[in-house]
Symmetry: C2
Subunit: 456 residues, 2 copies
């Protein structure tokens, strides 16, 4: 009843940009991973902040859920319409609005993807650094506090968003932050909305910090006898203060997946992928020092790529690893885990995870942004075999509990969504109540992405 | 009545660590700058989180204000007990609890000062980077989102606090963040409490990010003909990607103050102070490139100091500039302004400020953390001359309005307190209401540092 009234009001505002076609609903209710489909009742395609504000006022008045949707690449069921409602698809709000070259920042709409943004920035000599692998939208990346391969040098979304325009549940439009590089003016609302997964407000614009394209880039890979030596090598390199732009770990099984997928012939042992950004002399010095340090940990086959095409081949291999892993088991879906621990506990966390997986009925290659202490197991399950999904969930549960016991977090970069809500109590205790109180204050009718993150 | 009941309960908990001596009350009600004295009714010296929790429950039950107090170095009246109540002095909770060498982090109590912390860290090869000039307490620095000279490279308190223990208004104790380098688990409560100026909770422990002491450090100063050339040189150096650890601006009058205070003989024109951290070869290359770039902007007298004693002399000069400026006008007090703008607007902001000051009846040397777009005018007033204080306030108001018009903030690092609350509406609009709503949710009785930051 309330839903019908809301949709009828919205269709006068949006016309055929309010879709109720089955294919549209299904596409927006689908999960990138293992969550069951949960389609919304309608999909709205707003073209302006004013339209988003109008949609939210209408939905708030009628108590209809609103789910913000960027590129649909989230991994914890963030965009599932578990209570129906209206999905706000930002594909028509995907513009790079302004680049402030001198200030190294850009103002964008939330629907722009990071790859599209970087294509548009190419001529400016600047780039947007956050790289979660998938070609996610900037709005979605802000909402999940995404990070990825370059975090060790350039930071997460928390570090690379200077300000936001946000539409609140009741339709009010606020601005957080400024274009200044820092501010001590009031509560950090930018930081509060980043990682709030669409539960506190809807992001309609973001001011992003950009970085200068490095004068020189040097990438490399090297092989280790054991995972623990690879991780110990990373710890040593970090403590020496080497300014790595990327430092990624693949276990032997992930390398096997990459070889099968890309037709490469990399030795199937644990590997590190590394990249340095700087001056010609600087990256050469950094790569040389890196080689010396990792040699002490038994690294072999250190290969350095400085030509753009060689570097692209290397990182394409790394970026395709998720699909490469899926290829190991035809027809498989994946439970993608995502824990992050203090780096001194990383070797233990990875080793115990590997042993757990080896003792289970399923396979699970491991890869990680080891410079941050963050790693993933891609747990491969046949969706027709409930025992495999159960095994994967049990493995994921043990990884999460282990991460907490080791002083870490149940998610380094993927967020809570539906999939990790069961761990919020264990991780945050009474602080989860504080989050829930803030949610109720900003969204008293509970319309913003219900069923995610907050205490039920 | 309520106050007497609360103090009587607290004195049974704290004994003689609840002080009502006039000298103690006056010391805690005094301002570092121009605000009138506003002493509390009592000063508590807690020794544990449990005691802080107990104090807050008692004060909350009786509606008695609680003001957290570190080193008393805040500049916007943050610690003034404008509605009386109990000041929580953290001088007995000032320990470095743990250093995690491998993870490059440390857990500290809020009362430790940054200088004491860095003395204790010296043997570890690590250091805590945030340097606001004054020897502030870590708790106070977190509460005001402090930053300072090293922000351009190492970030603000927002970037260097991994997690907090916080006592809420009702006495509940929560933990925010983890020791992992990043997390996407729920709302960023760490970020919310950082910069909340004691209005949302009281910080009783902080986990700090540390950095490796650089292998080599190179510092330098150079002179410019004009302020705008100095600022343009900084913009150019940043755009070239030179990794400066510090880049500070002093105008001709600030240099004059330094000469008078330190007995130095620096030419009295605008200057930049710069520092590079890295390897021996790296800092030499950086300093050389810096010299080449600034020469294009008319820099002269580039002097590089690599010996520790020379560097210390240089930065001591810089760190004493506040007192040096006060020394320009015997008996003076200062209105210390603190705006931050996008760097492309920095030259305009500083130039217009200088012209304003020149046209006024008072003096005001200017200095700035120019790499962040942040600068201060030290407006010197004779406290017995109301016309001078009025002139300073008018100049400060124009600086704040100009910063907002140029896309910046009314405070880069000092915070809001009492002094900047009049600008919250102009800077944040409806977002100030959101802050106020969050405040009421977390502190329904309004006991936490009342009269600061939040809408009256």
């Amino acid at each position: 009843m309330a839903l019908d009234a809301a949709l009828s009001e919205l269709s006068t505002v949006l016309g055929d940009r309010l879709s109720r076609s089955k294919s549209d609903l299904d596409a927006h209710g689908a999960s990138e991973t293992y969550f069951p489909s949960a389609p919304p009742d309608a999909v709205a395609y707003p073209e302006s902040t004013a339209e988003v504000s109008r949609i939210l006022s209408v939905c708030n008045a009628h108590g209809v859920p609103v789910i913000a949707y960027g590129a649909g690449t989230s991994l914890e069921g963030h965009t599932s319409a578990v209570r129906g409602g209206v999905t706000l698809d930002f594909s028509r709000m995907d513009r790079l609005m302004t680049v402030h070259q001198g200030d190294m920042d850009a103002v964008v709409q939330p629907g722009i993807t990071r790859e599209a943004l970087n294509r548009e920035l190419r001529a400016t000599g600047l780039f947007f650094s956050v790289d979660p692998g998938a070609n996610a939208s900037v709005g979605g990346m802000a909402a999940t506090r995404a990070s990825g391969t370059t975090t060790v040098r350039y930071g997460t979304m928390r570090d690379n968003v200077l300000g936001l325009e946000v539409v609140l549940a009741d339709g009010r439009v606020i601005r957080t932050g400024t274009r200044a590089r820092k501010s001590s003016s009031g509560y950090d609302l930018t930081g509060l909305f980043i990682g709030s997964e669409g539960t506190l407000g809807v992001i309609t614009e973001a001011t992003l910090r950009l970085h200068g394209q490095p004068e020189a880039v040097s990438s490399g890979i090297c092989a280790f006898q054991s995972m623990s030596e690879a991780v110990e090598a990373v710890v040593a390199v970090i403590q020496m203060g080497l300014p790595m732009a990327r430092i990624e770990f693949l276990d032997a099984e992930a390398v096997r997946a990459v070889n099968a997928h890309s037709g490469t012939n990399v030795p199937e042992t644990p590997h590190l992928f590394v990249e340095f950004h700087g001056s010609e002399a600087g990256v050469a010095e950094d790569a040389a020092r890196f080689g010396e340090i990792v040699a002490d940990f038994g690294a072999s086959g250190v290969e350095v790529a400085t030509k753009p095409e060689d570097r692209t081949a290397l990182w394409t291999m790394r970026h395709h690893v998720y699909w490469a892993c899926l290829g190991l088991k035809p027809g498989a879906t994946a439970v993608v885990t995502d824990v992050c621990v203090p780096i001194s506990n990383l070797a233990q966390a990875v080793e115990e995870t590997q042993a757990d997986i080896a003792a289970s009925i399923i396979d699970g290659p491991i890869l990680g942004h080891v410079g941050d202490g963050n790693f993933h197991a891609i747990l491969l399950v046949d969706p027709s075999q409930p025992a495999e999904l159960d095994a994967a969930k049990a493995l994921a549960a043990r990884m999460n509990e282990r991460a907490l016991a080791l002083g870490g977090t149940v998610t380094g970069e993927h967020g809570i969504g539906i999939g990790k809500r069961a761990y919020m109590e264990a991780q945050h205790g009474d602080a989860w109540d504080v989050m829930t109180d803030i949610k109720r204050t900003l969204d008293p009718n509970g319309i913003l992405n219900p069923g995610k993150l907050i205490r039920p």
